[in-house]
Symmetry: C2
Subunit: 190 residues, 2 copies
């Protein structure tokens, strides 16, 4: 079921109906089929995407293998912030894991909203803070925990990933081989 | 030489003299000796710190060894954002590498400024975005590059680290042993 952009934003900030209309008018619609690429490595990521329904993952290629960086679900936001802000080539590929409906906004329109609706800056700050915390949690888990602990942490912090994502993507997110993930899961059940 | 808080903030935002006075009044002063701890693991990081002069590093302990997460120089900002925002126990220790003068602000005062000076939200957003990009660059370098490439990238992107930081901290930041760093440096000179 689709999640509303208005409800999602108004969890953080109170906008007037008129302000929300200005915001909504800046977003365009895009749909992706399962496995379709949203943006590719070595291109500039020009938009911020809101996921009305579906799942996006991004991955990087390391020693010829895909390493999944993160999963983004219905109601979430995705961009390659570095590429988006600095117009640099992206070092990652973003792909739909299932059929996905997106709303997306350009940098120009985002800057316009920041100027016209000062409250929107607050929303931008909260999003950037959440993105930072999510990335720190993930990298801390990769650095400080072993594979089994990482799996248990994922189960506790983000059970949605375990429920909804194919095993081989979860393994590539945890930095382990699919066989190791199967072994960990099997040992936990016993 | 000390860097001014006013000049640093006004690079991003134009404040009136009165607004800047409100901002400055929220900050308190702290000085640290070389190697003194700013905040420790398993305590809540309650402040955002501006480095007027000096160097801060944070580290985590992995398999009994210190792993340096990042270095913050004169004119920069430091906090453990996750601990600060969610009042959770920090997973890192922050320490002065040399004598360091700081200005610091509490969460309550920061929230007050966000409310009173809408422009300040913009500053907060830009800081959070920069923090995210810095962390992504660092984790990408750790994931995608080998030790020699990581050293060369550091030399290119942040020569200040090479100039000012003791070798053993640089090695722990690059995720290698001090002997490996010496070998890399020696081979580059030859």
């Amino acid at each position: 079921m689709k999640v509303s952009l208005e409800k999602t934003i108004s969890k953080y900030i109170d906008f007037t109906a008129e302000e929300f209309k200005s915001i909504r008018d800046c977003f365009k619609i895009k749909t992706l089929k399962r496995r379709e690429i949203l943006h590719d490595i070595n291109t500039v990521c020009k938009y911020v995407y809101f996921i009305e329904e579906g799942i996006i993952r991004y991955f990087q290629v390391e020693d010829g293998e895909e390493v999944t960086g993160q999963f983004f679900f219905t109601g979430g936001w995705y961009t390659d912030l570095e590429s988006f802000l600095s117009n640099s080539y992206s070092r990652q590929t973003a792909q739909a894991i299932e059929s996905t409906s997106l709303l997306y906004i350009s940098k120009q329109d985002l800057e316009k909203l920041y100027k016209e609706i000062p409250q929107f800056e607050r929303f931008g700050r909260l999003m950037a803070e959440q993105a930072f915390i999510g990335l720190r949690k993930k990298t801390d888990n990769l650095t400080l925990l072993d594979a089994k602990e990482r799996y248990l942490m994922l189960l506790r912090q983000r059970p949605k990933v375990i429920e909804k994502i194919p095993q081989h993507y979860i393994a590539s997110y945890l930095g382990i081989k699919p066989q190791s993930l199967s072994r960990i899961r099997k040992n936990l059940v016993l």
